[in-house]
């Protein structure tokens, strides 16, 4: 059973928790490969999807995951809700909880919002991304995807490239990857990194070329030029010359290395058009779509495990 009641960050998961989640993900991955992709395991349970920040991919992924477990889903999104009428977050959450749901999946644009909300309600909560803090389900699906390509996690060389400062994916992935014994290097520029990096305890490189030849897992973060509140990084052109994956760099990589990205890819920024167009040819190496599929399985496993976690059962004896 999991040692935690909520999935809020990757820091509080033990290695045993992570292994259990990986095993269950494999089980649900099999369910997803069936013609009939649904099991009635959580029939009668209701899962609340609360997205205070707009999202299509993650929200759909969670919704499909819950439905494939046979649970009912209720969707709440901030736009068009009474939040616009000045209702406080906690009142909204408590109102929805009063509708008697069994588990809440929450995304919020404020870091720490899920810690706050989960302390106020008494059902299990899964963090679907909070501000610049954590996105644990992304980290777990990434780990599962890596596990599909490599025999063991220990000492795998992972390079995480791009905007570390504003990335919740980076925060949860670094922590989880380190926990599983991987060798993590961050590739970024000063204005894209926090001033104090002590809490990450990782190596730092300033250009993708410094690591490209020895990396097993190249993890490209999404670079959102259009969303930066203040634009400090100079330009896409500058980004391309230091951090982007183009065909030339791709060809330098190890034969068995893999490319990951939390999606959606900004073609021509993180990864060049040319590489993306060869996605099918390099299906064993460019894992971006596989990550999305595994996202479903990981989310099914987490929903299932959280609802199961305090209901320990012995081996069934006839």
């Amino acid at each position: 059973m999991l040692s935690v009641k909520n999935i809020i960050d990757t820091e509080n998961l033990t290695v045993a928790d992570v292994n259990l989640i990986m095993e269950n993900t494999a089980t649900f991955s099999e369910v997803l490969s069936r013609d009939f992709k649904k099991v009635p395991a959580l029939r009668g349970k209701t899962v609340l999807n609360m997205f205070f920040e707009s999202s299509t991919r993650t929200k759909n992924s969670f919704e499909i995951a819950a439905k494939r477990l046979g649970a009912d889903t209720v969707n709440f999104s901030a736009s068009g809700s009474s939040l616009n009428k000045g209702e406080s977050i906690i009142d909204t959450v408590k109102t929805l909880q009063s509708m008697i749901v069994d588990l809440a999946i929450i995304r919020h644009s404020d870091s720490g919002a899920i810690n706050y909300i989960s302390s106020k309600i008494n059902i299990p909560v899964i963090n679907a991304g909070d501000g610049k803090h954590q996105h644990p389900t992304q980290a777990l699906l990434d780990l599962f995807t890596i596990g599909e390509s490599f025999a063991e996690f220990k000492n795998l060389k992972v390079a995480i490239v791009g905007d570390i400062l504003n990335s919740r994916v980076a925060r949860s992935n670094i922590c989880l990857f380190k926990k599983m014994g991987m060798d993590v290097t961050l590739v970024s520029a000063p204005m894209l990194m926090p001033v104090n990096m002590d809490c990450f305890n990782v190596k730092i490189a300033s250009c993708i070329d410094d690591v490209i030849e020895e990396t097993d897992v190249l993890y490209m973060l999404r670079m959102q030029f259009e969303r930066q509140e203040k634009k400090y990084y100079p330009s896409i052109r500058e980004y391309n010359s230091f951090f982007s994956l183009d065909k030339k760099r791709f060809m330098k990589m190890k034969e068995k290395s893999i490319i990951m990205h939390p999606g959606p890819v900004n073609r021509g920024i993180e990864i060049s058009e040319e590489v993306m167009e060869n996605e099918d040819e390099f299906i064993e190496r460019i894992k971006i779509n596989r990550q999305v599929t595994n996202g479903l399985a990981v989310r099914m496993a987490l929903i299932y495990l959280l609802l199961a976690s305090d209901q320990l059962e012995k081996e069934y004896v006839h």
């Binding site: 720490g112 926090p194 001033v195 104090n196 809490c199 509140e229």
Partner: protein, 468 residues
Amino acid sequence: MFTEIINKKFPAKDIKAPESLIIKNIFIPGKTPNEDLAADILIEKGIIRSAEGIVDTCGIEFDYPLYPGINSEKKHVLGISSNGKAAILNAGGLTCSASFTDMHVHLREPGDEEEECINSGINAALKGGITAMCCMPNTKPVIDNDCLVSFIKMKAAKSDFNIYPAAAITKGLNGLEITDFGVLKNAGAAAFSDDGKCVQDSKLMYEIMRYAKYHEALLILHEEDYSFSAEGAMHEGYYSTKLGIGGISPLSEEIIIARDIMLAEKTGAKVHITHISSKKSVEMIKSAREAGINITCDVTPHHIFFNDSALKNYNTNLKVNPPVRGPEDQEALIAGLKSGVIDAIASDHAPHLDSEKNTTFIKAANGSTGLETLFKASYTKLCIEENLNFLHFLKLISTNPSRIIGHKAGQISSGSNADIAILDTKKQEIFDVRNTYSKSSNSAFDGIKLYGKIICTIKNGKIVFLDF
């Protein structure tokens, strides 16, 4: 207050406040050599008449049932003479001090009386041993005209409490136009401050300082460069990285302090920098003073009590501006208090509604209440943990802030105003914000064990707060 206390304890008797108060067996730091050789204090008509030897109480009979309390295994007793003319307080070896002065509080009146009002602020202050305070002008409307200054003074006078209003530096705290310094000063503004905001325009600040010098007005400055703080909500460091909260670099404060030191040097204005937070700020102020520049500063109890690690669970009650900083900064602030570079401790009492704090860290309002913990928290940190000399400590929360805002501080000596706080310095208690006298409960110290308890606050010779 005194009659209320007595009548509550002895409901059968209708007692008026006696003219004289005798405090027996009290330890006066700096005067009585030790706690076993305690002295007595005789107060008549609000003035201390004797604070040296033993006061002879022969001839006064106390035939009312005495009001006993048990504290630190010593017996404290309050009684009243049969003719009602004198009260006697047996302090049983407790410590006394001139009552405290808090030179940085937000009373929220007018405008946000649901958070705090002048009366509730005064009650909280008295519970904290404070009898004088300087309130900040960021009310609604902003205290930027003489009518509002008079309003505050009038309210305070009704409660027989010393409030020194700070008026705004710029109209509506807009950082653009200078207020009527002359008129405001004549109406009773003790200082000028845009606290909560900071004038970003350096030329304007230069003119403000020249004008303040011309009116011999005190400037209390909140130092913040918005371009550094706009995207942040906590100290930029290990924990801001980990928590994914935008960081505020200490440079935000330091750049403006550097600027204002240069302007103060040029203009000769009397500048007080409030709630400094970083090591570099302490260093800059130290060298400015060594160069003879007219500059003073204070720090809050929360900046010396906590560092950013206390925010690891997104504690919104400790979301303050400037943010609590790293351990090195915290140490430098404590060292600054010890060495005398930092003149005063001020609470930055900032009451907020629950709805403003009971939310996500990023959305939560800045500020912590602090009147009731000004003494306890800073005493615990400085005297208990850091072994600071108690007399030096008392200067930081009484003599020095009084001097800066022009308040005639109490002293425990003959002829002085009888503004006294009686303290149990050994008592250790968990601070429980549910018992607060403030209207708000956003205290960063809630649930923390603190040394020191205010047993009694005396203002103008009258007992205005008593908690045996």
